[in-house]
């Protein structure tokens, strides 16, 4: 297997903001790859550079070996992108939108594939409806359809399930999984970390324009094995403050290395006379791993 997407030393600055600082990344063909990071980490900028929407200050990006600048025609034919913004052309129906998008890639007479996309995205009944008449979730699914209309071997999904209800999200992921099984490389950015954990074989985490973690999902989960405690209490002893992953009002999310540490925490709370309103233990999941990595690289 070769590289579906290869990013070498890519950097981009917008005014005073260094959006990307020398990112290196390789996504293998056939992978289901997750690109995670907090807002402003540089995920969308990186995707935009691969898609040719943004130009890098330095570095190169290739799609299946084709440079996105010098060989952009081939690179773009091999790539399908679902943009993050919910955009649509109000002049056209759903079917016209998909036909026109296929035509931009030089494809015509591919109504069979368009019908299949409409079926899988549960849009068949809306094929002749104007884009303006669709709900937000439907418009999002049309965006997915537009990215797939030329059957690209590499598909980038930038927050594809934002605003899509749970049931349709499941059917959408079923379709994307099928495309992955059929050999399509999938690159996903999402804020739903449980989705990334369930779908992605490998994950890169970006922070402030740099890759701060890159490994298989399983390795990430096991390397950050441990427990987290959700604690609701009026205060927290100072010695435990460095273990806080997240803090909202009286609710704390704390990391523990083992069950034995729980006793230390409870003792500290008793010594300081802090009453526990609620306490829950959790095994590490991708969200905890994400929070720990972001905190560690703070």
């Amino acid at each position: 297997m070769g590289a579906a997407v290869e990013i070498v030393d890519v950097a981009r600055r917008f005014g005073a903001v260094q959006a990307l600082s020398g990112v290196d990344l390789m996504v293998e063909e056939g992978e289901f790859f997750g690109l995670l990071g907090p807002n402003g980490a540089g995920k969308t900028t990186l995707i935009s550079i691969v898609a040719g929407l943004t130009r890098a200050d330095r570095g190169t990006a290739r799609v299946l070996g084709h440079d996105v600048v010098t060989d952009y025609r081939r690179a773009r034919r091999l790539l399908g992108v679902v943009p993050q913004e919910l955009v649509f052309d109000p002049f056209f129906t759903v079917r016209e939108t998909l036909r026109i998008q296929a035509g931009y890639f030089g494809l015509s007479n591919n109504d069979a594939w368009i019908d299949e996309i409409l079926h899988h995205l549960d849009l068949a009944s809306k094929a002749d409806a104007n884009m303006r008449a669709l709900s937000g979730g439907m418009k999002r699914r049309v965006l997915v359809g537009q990215a797939l209309v030329h059957k690209p071997p590499v598909i980038v999904l930038d927050e594809p399930t934002a605003g899509v209800d749970v049931e349709l999200r499941q059917s959408l992921w079923g379709f994307i999984r099928k495309l992955n099984r059929d050999g399509h490389t999938i690159i996903l950015t999402t804020h739903y970390l449980e989705e990334a954990e369930a779908l992605c074989g490998r994950i890169a985490m970006l922070k402030a324009g740099k890759v701060v973690a890159l490994d298989t999902t399983q390795n990430l989960l096991s390397s950050f094995a441990g427990l987290t405690v959700r604690l609701t209490a009026a205060a927290l002893p100072d010695v435990w403050r460095e273990r806080v992953l997240r803090h909202e009002g009286a609710s704390y999310l704390l990391s523990l290395t083992s069950y034995a540490e729980l006793e230390s925490l409870l003792s500290a709370l008793r010594e300081h006379g802090v009453a526990i309103a609620e306490l829950a233990l959790q095994e590490a999941d991708l969200e905890q791993v994400f929070l720990r990595i972001m905190k560690r690289t703070g």
Binding site: L53, R76, R77, D89, F91, G103, Y104, S108, D182
Partner: protein, 275 residues
Amino acid sequence: MSNSSTQLSAEPSTKLGMELIPHRSGWRTLLYKELLRFWKVSFQTILAPVLTSLLYLLIFSHVLESRVSVFDGRIRYTAFLIPGLVMMSVLQNAFANSSSSLIQSKITGNLIFVLLPPLSPLDLFAAYVVGAMVRGISVGLGVFLVTLWFAPIAPTHPLWALAFALLGSMILGVLGLLAGIWADKFDQLAAFQNFLIVPLTFLSGVFYSIHTLPPFWQTLSHFNPFFYMIDGFRYGFFGLSDVEPGLSLAVIAVSCCVLSALTLWVLKRGYKLRH
């Protein structure tokens, strides 16, 4: 699952993608989209400007027919007015088409659908400009047809008229594309249209022959490229013009080449399109 899907899953991914790559450009689809876009709102994009031009003809011909003599009285003022109005409609609507399409796509964000596919700068240029030319010439033809009832004229040099209509609409289509790329909001585009395009077309000899102007304004008119478009187009109808039609054709051909080269360079750089 349909057969196409079964076929999909049977092939390795790279081959799958390459297999589906067609050997033709998508610019024709972008042109089709541009035509469909204005056709779907044809009341606004075709019929409204035809009506506006008809009102100009009714008012100006009623007020000035007996008071204004053009080309030493060899043609009626109403007849003189018609080619000017036709060409003004061609120019203004060609500009409106490419500029409004691009700014709408930029502001609503759907321009991304055009930027993601493998369309070259020349593809984008050709589709937007030809779309603008079709809209401009459609409106011009509409104006010509409805004004025939007031003064039945026919071009005596149809190839000259056609050459000026094509080149004029192309120049304004290119200018519209340039303005659409440059403008970040509708207000900026309206300023471009209202403070540049409209004055230059109104002051280009649509409603008068420049020989009726004082010498200073006559000289100034020669610096207005729109004057050459109107005057040359009118030559195609009457065989009469304020300047040599060959000179007019040369001026607008050179303008067209310069503007096209500039716009292609801007598209290639991705100015305000690819950040």
